[in-house]
């Protein structure tokens, strides 16, 4: 049936998570590997993203934690000699790499056959000109633009294209001189301006306000095609689909429109010759059936992951099988297991995807939504009404919203402008606009969002108004309560709307809940079965809804279910690593004979793959919904420690409701989370910590700072990824951040602590049983304290810690574990300076670094922790970090290039979007691999240095000497230049942007004289629009590697100056330590 000549298949991963390329590729790669293994094929995977599920034991036969670049892939091919390669499961990274290997003849040379879609088809879709030409051949319309050199030509072009048109100035950075024109007059004006920036201008038909629709299409080599799903963007064209709320299936398309676009999608996929899966994006005129094809992605994508989760159709799995030569008719529907995989899912629910942004974490970033993607994650909400789905989704994104209504008021000075120019707050703005009396028509006129969506949102407003009129639970009618629940109102929203006690909303919500249950208003469990109930399905893929009278499944009644709470939307600070933890917990639970029940709502994850668990509740991780699920399932227990901070935060409230939390008790979790309690405990057991104080009045702060001095660290007590945490060096900054932090936390006090500079940061990841540590991993940060642990480069095992430091850390960790009676995973962060050890933070849950240390140590700490939580007596493993004869380095991936204007500088607030982990014989090898994996390149020409304050300048000196010795041209800004000259290093002085003298630092970047920039800010204060910022930003915008930390820069420079990439060993994971 399949290519019998293929025995060994190479699969390329997508590397670190970044904006635009995130967890969805772990999901698609894992599915593909599963499909390949099912065929008995040997699999080789290249992916440096160590936190993924696909790079776990047993998923692929050989795993290489190496950069997905042509150089390294070729070396792996030379070693492994695979006969087939898949390019479409690792995002754009894998696709680009594969196309390069094809073009350079490497694949041919080694006899590697590209499986699935042929490379030529990929090239046809990637090259704009060829693409347009190919679609012309089959009479399919694409978006056209015409290049013009004069205003007259522009007017003629616009006449041909039809108004409105977009004018784009060619070769102008940042959209200078671009804009929309509705008529000749406007075009003439704008063109005159545009020609002052650029000799050539592109005139393009504007499709602003058109609907954006996507289809996921599958084709086998026998030319059989299906469209698995279509999706409609809530936001009209102009906002990147990754930035838009997306609904599946389409809601406002008639049958004729739906099938017209479907037929086009199939015509396109046939003509281009895809074998596997692709995605077709359309613009559709809201006033006719006119359309344009925006683009075709000849690979698995974020949309295909969403479509898989939205429909239950495993696109990646099927695409892999088709790549091996199967026909769709050979395969079975993965859900019903009896019907054919050649079918199109029928949904009997609606799905709503909402992006998650973290723009608040970046200084100076442009918040406007547009044609480039800035969101870092997404959620998918399922309901049987649109209102239910969107309200669920708004709660899921975890940015403090309770739904569409009953949120904290947003102050908007100009509602019209806010509606017209969308930002990440768009949905809140619509809610506020309704509140301010705007009609559906007015909002439509300003946003171009289809009125159908706006009407549905208006229904939520109407119900909310009716609730407000109730004034208390006693006046709330059964019908209104039921309607509100069908429209996705949470108990909290209802309690708040009917004006219940605002002092204790938790209690008020519980009262609503109790009334609801009394009246029999309960959610029902429905299955996602791909066929809308037409055929019986044993599916475990579930969601809850209030639009129904009957549940499809009942809870297990044998006390065998363990509920694992997932980690929610990927965001800065909580990402694929917790997906890995959740999946490992589920694997262990099932291996030990229990049933694993997952609750999560992130469509980009493996943990929301329904065959990873016995039951998947694709639903909210709110207290209310978790309780609903627990009441249905009556499980043996709940695991809250493998999903990051979201489940951890629910521990205490769940325990108060009598829920059995497995492992460490909720009280202990609270004792670690609550800073007062934790600090008192440390004092009691004699463990040191940086001086701190809980903040209530300004006088207290002044007194405290008077005692410890600046800098200080300011943060609220429940902290996720440094949200609202910052180092303040003076009173100005302090006042600014206090306002922010106080906004974030009402229940918990704001904490100010002394910030210790030039200290090492050390992480302890461990598993304890009944207060005794059974396994642990100590790792050290390359950077000094001050860089958030999520952004830091981490080395494991530690290479530069005093034995004494390690001993003390072990002792303190043991004491804390005992004191908190920990049973399960935990993480403690330490500061170490000259063997002086202080505890910064303790989390009684798995931390971000668990997959990294587990994989380097080759000891699955989550498996061990899960067995502990299941109550098994575990043996202490014999493995120890001191036995390792290799080094792992975890490096962070930043996405500053996607975040226009953001200052690419690191601080206590986390900014990275992903990470890699690479293994090497020593620190140099590991750091070189990992830095190349996150996109750094070894410079070939010159290096621009501005190395911060005196101390940092001295720190960097040895590295700069190496650069000079290696023959690099050294450019330095004046202070640094003088320092280097004093130390006998030849260098060229260059000048800051605000200094008129030549040569200008920025010019060197633009002329590419410099191919690496080391720019170290002098202090940890917020980056203003200063000289340093302009250099850093230019480096990012010009794609020149930038280092902003002296310690990391030193380590990287030392690595590439003392060895070449050719010296790096190409070894798979299993070849280390054997």
């Amino acid at each position: 049936m399949f290519h019998l000549t293929i025995h060994k298949v190479l699969l390329l991963g997508s590397g670190a998570l970044k904006i635009g390329e995130a967890g969805e590729f772990d999901y698609s790669g894992s599915q593909a590997l599963k499909a390949l293994r099912e065929e008995g094929l040997e699999t080789v995977l290249i992916n440096p993203n160590i936190a993924t599920v696909q790079t776990s034991e047993g998923v692929a036969d050989k795993i290489y934690f190496l950069p997905v670049t042509p150089y390294f892939v070729e070396r792996v091919i030379a070693k492994e000699r695979p006969d087939g390669i898949f390019l479409s499961f690792g995002g754009q990274t894998a696709l680009n790499c594969g196309v390069e290997l094809y073009k350079s003849g490497v694949l041919d040379r080694y006899g590697v056959k590209v499986l699935g879609t042929p490379v030529q088809s990929i090239i046809d879709t990637e090259d704009r000109e060829i693409f347009v030409h190919r679609l012309d051949e089959i009479g399919v319309k694409t978006i056209r633009s015409e290049a013009v050199d004069t205003v007259e030509q522009a007017l003629q072009a616009a006449g041909r294209l039809g108004y409105p048109v977009i004018v784009r100035a060619a070769y102008a950075l940042g959209g200078l001189g671009s804009g929309f024109c509705d008529n000749e007059g406007e075009l003439r004006l704008l063109c005159e301006k545009a020609f002052s920036f650029s000799p050539q201008v592109l005139i393009e038909k504007s499709l602003k306000g058109w609907k954006e629709i996507e289809y996921e299409v599958v084709r086998d080599r026998f030319d059989n095609c299906i469209t698995v799903c279509n999706m409609e963007n809530f936001d009209p064209l102009g906002i990147h689909t990754g930035e838009s709320i997306v609904i599946a299936p389409s809601q406002t398309l008639s049958n004729s429109e739906y099938h017209k676009l479907r037929e086009l999608a199939i015509r396109i996929i046939r003509h281009i010759g895809i074998v596997g899966e692709c995605n077709v994006q359309y613009a559709l005129d809201p006033e006719s059936e006119d359309y344009r094809v925006i683009e075709v992605n000849a690979r698995l994508s974020r949309s295909s992951a969403l479509a898989s989760k939205a429909t239950g159709y495993p696109l990646a799995f099927v695409a892999a099988k088709l790549g091996l030569g199967y026909g769709l008719f050979d395969l079975k529907n993965a859900v019903t297991k009896s019907t054919s995989a050649f079918f199109e899912p029928a949904l009997d629910y609606v799905v709503c995807k909402i992006p998650r942004w973290d723009l608040g974490k970046f200084h100076g970033v442009d918040r406007a939504l547009g044609s480039s993607m800035k969101s870092v994650g997404e959620v998918m909400a399922i309901g049987r009404t649109f209102e239910e789905a969107i309200q669920k989704g708004l709660r899921m994104i975890g940015q403090g919203m309770h739904g569409f209504v009953e949120n904290k008021e947003l102050v908007i000075s100009d509602v019209d402008k806010a509606l017209r120019e969308p930002t990440d707050k768009r949905i809140c703005v619509i809610s506020e606009a309704f509140d301010a009396g705007y009609t559906v028509d007015q909002i439509h006129a300003l946003t171009k969002i289809d009125k159908w969506f706006l009407c549905k949102l208006k229904y939520i407003m109407d119900t909310d108004a009716r609730l407000h009129a109730c004034h208390g639970l006693d006046n709330l009618s059964v019908d209104l309560l039921r309607l509100a629940k069908r429209q996705g109102f949470s108990d909290f929203q209802i309690a708040h709307a009917i004006g219940m006690d605002a002092e204790d909303m938790e209690q008020a919500s519980l009262l609503v809940r109790a009334r609801r249950k009394e009246l029999g208003i309960l959610p029902v469990v429905k299955q996602i079965d791909t066929l809308a109930g037409e055929f019986p399905a044993q599916t475990n893929y579930l969601y809850l809804t209030y639009s129904g009278v009957e549940s499809d499944v009942q809870g297990f009644d044998d006390d065998s279910a363990i509920v694992v709470l997932g980690s929610g939307a990927y965001r800065i600070g909580s990402s694929v690593e917790f997906d890995w933890c959740g999946v490992q917990a589920l694997n262990t639970i099932r291996r030990e004979g229990y049933r694993g029940v997952m609750v999560n709502y992130n469509p980009e994850t493996v943990s929301t793959d329904y065959d990873i668990c016995d039951r998947l509740y694709f639903d909210e991780l709110t207290f209310e919904r978790i309780m609903d699920i627990l009441e249905i399932e009556s499980p043996h227990g709940v695991i809250v420690s493998t999903g990051g901070q979201i489940p951890n935060n629910h521990a205490l409230r769940l325990a108060q409701q009598g829920v059995r939390i497995l492992g460490t008790s909720a009280e202990s979790i609270d004792n670690a989370e609550d800073r007062d309690k934790f600090s008192a405990m440390l004092d009691r057991i004699g463990v040191d910590q940086p001086e701190w104080s809980a903040l209530t009045t300004m006088e207290d702060i002044h007194a405290f700072i008077g005692r410890v001095g600046f800098p200080v660290l300011v943060r609220p007590s429940y902290v996720l990824s440094g949200a609202a945490m910052n180092v303040c060096s003076n009173y100005d900054e302090l006042n600014r951040f206090l306002t922010l932090a106080a906004n974030v936390s009402q229940k918990h006090p704001v904490v100010v602590s002394r910030f210790i500079e030039h200290a090492k940061e050390v992480e302890m990841d461990a598993v304890a049983q009944d207060g005794e540590i059974v396994a642990y991993a100590i790792s050290e940060h390359i950077e000094y304290a001050g860089v958030h642990s999520g952004d830091a480069t981490i080395q494991f095992p530690p290479q530069k810690l005093y034995v004494e430091t390690v001993r003390r850390i072990k002792r303190i960790s043991r004491e804390i574990a005992r004191e908190l009676n920990i049973s399960g995973p935990f993480n403690i962060q330490y500061l170490a300076r000259e063997n002086d050890i202080k505890v910064i933070e303790c989390n009684l849950r798995a931390s971000r670094s668990f997959p990294f240390v587990s994989k380097v140590l080759k000891l699955n700490l989550i498996e061990l922790a899960t067995r502990v939580m299941l109550g098994q007596k575990v043996e202490k493993p014999s493995k120890s970090l001191f036995d390792l004869d290799y080094v792992g380095i975890k490096a962070s991936q930043f996405s500053f290039n996607r975040l226009q204007n953001a200052d690419p500088v690191l601080g206590v607030d986390m900014a990275s979007t992903g990470e890699v982990g690479c293994i090497g014989e020593d620190t140099r090898c590991a750091i070189l691999k990992s830095m190349l994996s996150v996109g750094y390149r070894i410079p070939e020409k010159g290096i621009l240095l501005s190395t911060g304050d005196a101390c940092q300048k001295a720190d960097m000196l040895p590295a700069v000497r190496m650069l000079a010795a290696k023959g690099y041209r050294i450019y330095a800004t004046d202070g640094t230049s003088a320092f280097l000259s004093r130390n006998g290093i030849d260098n060229t002085t260059v000048y800051w942007p605000d200094d008129p003298r030549m040569p200008q630092a920025l010019d060197l970047l633009h002329s590419r004289e410099v191919d690496m920039v080391v720019n170290i800010p002098k202090n940890l204060t917020v980056g203003e629009l200063d000289n340093g910022y302009r250099i850093r930003r230019a480096a990012i915008d010009l794609n020149i590697p930038l280092l902003t930390n002296a310690r990391l820069a030193g380590a990287f420079i030392a690595a590439f100056c003392t060895m070449s990439v050719d010296d790096l060993a190409i070894k798979s994971w299993d070849e280390y330590g054997n």
């Binding site: 026998f222 030319d223 059989n224 095609c225 299906i226 299936p249 389409s250 809601q251 406002t252 398309l253 008639s254 049958n255 004729s256 739906y258 099938h259 479907r262 037929e263 199939i266 809201p286 006033e287 006719s288 026909g327 769709l328 008719f329 009896s338 019907t339 054919s340 050649f342 079918f343 199109e344 899912p345 029928a346 949904l347 009997d348 629910y349 609606v350 049987r384 009404t385 649109f386 289809d450 009125k451 159908w452 009407c455 549905k456 029902v524 429905k526 066929l531 809308a532 109930g533 037409e534 055929f535 019986p536 639009s547 129904g548 009278v549 009957e550 499809d552």
Partner: protein, 349 residues
């Protein structure tokens, strides 16, 4: 909105709200899993006598277009059952809301029903008769009619001969058992003259180049006159093409038997495989009866097969240019993958 109840043959009750004509009714309760196309489905004459349950919960979103885009001149379904009717609609070609339309045509409809639970019940039990009671309506029927013995074709077929594209070089006789407008459009677009005749009309007196047998509602056993006329036509070797009911009538004329499916196929996602090939197609379907392929005589062979349940989806004659399909190549509503069958037919003329 008035409260409304659907009461099934087995006594099960589903309660919701009426969003249109406050009139009770009764019919065969069937479910349709299509996600779009309610105006087309409601006007499809094949739904005569049936209460249509839509499994896709959000209905009414894009309103109702002008009658030129319907599948016949009026709503044929007895009633409509949905989970979440959308009072407001938004579409450039909409003329009115679904509720307004249903009210104008006096067709009952209920929203707020757990259509998934209802569908699962129908799936497990098989289709059932059901009646709708609406609060405040005195005239709700007390009993269920017998769907299988009622001749719905007689009710929906045209009364007189109607001609389209007169004077075109080739002429097709279309036997109207309840033909969908898009079948006529598909033939018209291909430039043939169409002579649309009532279901029991003896078209053998006419001169024609090809015979088309349309879709239609109910039990094909109620149409013996049509079967006789087809048998007579088989004396000649002229091409015959049938769709849905037309497939069943052609099969009966060829000597095969037709049986009733447990709950039928009503959806836009039915996979069919072309027998003896690797080709498969997604089809639009709406039928409660099917041809028993094991009763086909040696002169006939299966042309298509349902890839989900293995039921027959089309037949063809070994020697003569006669073929028919159980699904709807004309789509409307549904996928358009098999429209090439019209080309095949036209090329035979």
């Amino acid at each position: 909105m008035n409260k409304a109840t659907l009461i099934l043959d087995d006594g099960t009750r589903f309660c919701g709200y009426s969003f249109c004509a406050p009139r009770g009714t009764a019919g065969e309760v069937v479910f349709n899993t299509a996600m779009t196309g309610y105006p087309e489905s409601l006007t499809d004459p094949s739904y005569a006598g049936q209460i249509m349950v839509l499994t896709y919960p959000l209905v009414g979103n894009y309103g109702v277009p002008a009658p030129e885009l319907w599948e016949s001149g009026r709503i044929h379904a007895e009633a409509l059952i949905v989970s979440d009717y959308s009072t407001d609609y938004s579409h450039w070609n909409a003329r009115e809301s679904l509720g307004q339309w249903l009210r104008r045509e006096h067709v009952p409809a209920i929203t707020g029903i757990d259509t998934r639970a209802l569908t699962q019940l129908l799936r497990e039990h098989g289709v059932m008769m059901g009646r709708i009671e609406i609060e405040g309506d005195q005239a709700s029927p007390a009993s269920f009619p017998d769907y299988g013995s009622e001749n719905y074709v007689e009710k929906v077929s045209c009364r007189e001969v109607i001609r389209y594209n007169e004077g075109a070089p080739k002429r097709v006789v279309l036997v109207d058992c309840g033909v969908k407008a898009n079948i006529i459009r598909c033939l018209q677009r291909r430039g043939v003259e169409i002579v649309r005749v009532p279901w029991d009309y003896d078209f053998n007196v006419l001169s024609y180049d090809g015979l088309f047998l349309s879709n239609g509602p109910g039990n094909p056993d109620n149409c013996p006159q049509a079967v006789d006329n087809i048998r007579k036509a088989m004396q000649a070797d002229k091409p015959i093409f049938g769709i849905c009911m037309g497939n069943q009538l052609l099969a009966k004329a060829g000597g095969a038997k037709v049986y009733k499916l447990k709950y039928g196929h009503r959806s836009h996602n039915q996979p069919v495989g072309m027998t003896g090939t690797n080709r498969c197609f997604i089809t639009s379907q709406n039928h409660g009866y099917a041809v028993d392929a094991s009763t086909l005589s040696a002169d006939w062979e299966p042309l298509f097969e349902n890839m989900n349940d293995g039921s027959n989806e089309g037949i063809r004659h070994n020697g003569k240019p006669w073929f028919s399909v159980q699904f709807h190549p004309e789509a409307a509503a549904g996928p358009t993958d098999t429209q090439f069958l019209f080309d095949d037919f036209i090329s035979m003329l």
